[in-house]
């Protein structure tokens, strides 16, 4: 599934920033909040579900080639961080769902 389709197929997710990678493939959900572990282990094209809503998480997503970030448990970006996401063209979504529930939803949709 392409990022373009991914961002529009979940009622539970809000689009916080539409990145510049709509043609990329979303491969699988990935969950982790510790950035060094996330960066080392995240599969390419991951839909990365995390609660870390800061610029470092944006950097990790970008460097590790995540397809998008899904901020779970209601975490949200402040103005500064959302501006950074725009600048770097990173796709970010937000949800009130718990990390596991969000990842499960993504898993089921990608494997439907």
């Amino acid at each position: 599934m392409k990022v373009e389709e991914f961002i529009s197929c979940f009622d539970e997710f809000d689009l916080l920033n539409k990145g510049r990678n709509m043609d990329e493939d979303v491969t699988e959900p990935y969950c982790c909040d510790l950035l060094s572990i996330a960066m080392g282990r995240m599969p390419q094209g991951a839909a990365w579900v995390t609660v870390m809503a800061n610029v470092n998480a944006l950097a990790v997503a970008s460097l590790a080639d995540a397809a998008c970030i899904i901020l779970a448990e209601g975490s949200s970006l402040d103005e500064f961080t959302i501006e950074k996401a725009r600048e770097k063209g990173i796709t970010v979504l937000g949800t009130k769902l718990k990390v596991f529930d969000a990842a499960l939803l993504i898993y089921n949709r990608l494997n439907a």
């Binding site: 950035l35 060094s36 970008s62 460097l63």
Partner: protein, 141 residues
């Protein structure tokens, strides 16, 4: 590409909002040059870990990246506190990062292990009170 390309960057101290800029620039450059995506990813990850370490532990430093036709060499120099026991520092999970760093999502003790994992070669020279130099090489297949 027959000649080498040399890139130099300064890493500021304590600026987590800018940490990753050198890695991002190198990543973009390599991508534009058409370098294998897996190589690009490994360079980006190992360099970012190094950059973050310089910000957390060493008040910044300098990064030099040299792109050869068959490899990428990265040298990170700082004048920070130095590493007392490199073997211990290399152990996954070992960390000396303070609490405020952990709250940012770092400090899991995975920085050096990640660098070792993603680079084809990693050398650390460090003197307590003087600073640390990290050299990494990623081969281009």
């Amino acid at each position: 590409m027959s000649e080498k390309i040399v890139l130099n960057y300064d890493v500021d101290s304590d600026d987590f909002t800018r940490a990753g800029e050198a890695s991002s620039k190198v990543k973009r450059k390599l991508k534009l040059m058409g370098v294998d995506p897996d190589v690009v990813r490994r360079v980006a990850i190992s360099l970012y870990e190094g950059e973050i370490n310089m910000v957390i532990h060493a008040d910044g430093g300098t990064i030099q990246v040299i792109i050869f036709p068959d490899k990428i060499e990265m040298t990170l120099r700082d004048r920070g506190p130095g590493i007392e026991d490199i073997e211990l520092a290399m152990r996954a999970g070992y960390t000396t990062a303070p609490d405020n760093i952990r709250s940012l999502g770092f400090g899991a003790g995975m920085g050096l292990p990640n660098m070792k994992r993603y680079a084809d070669d990693l050398k650390i020279e460090s003197k307590v009170g003087i600073g640390t130099t990290v050299k990494m090489r990623v081969d281009i297949p």
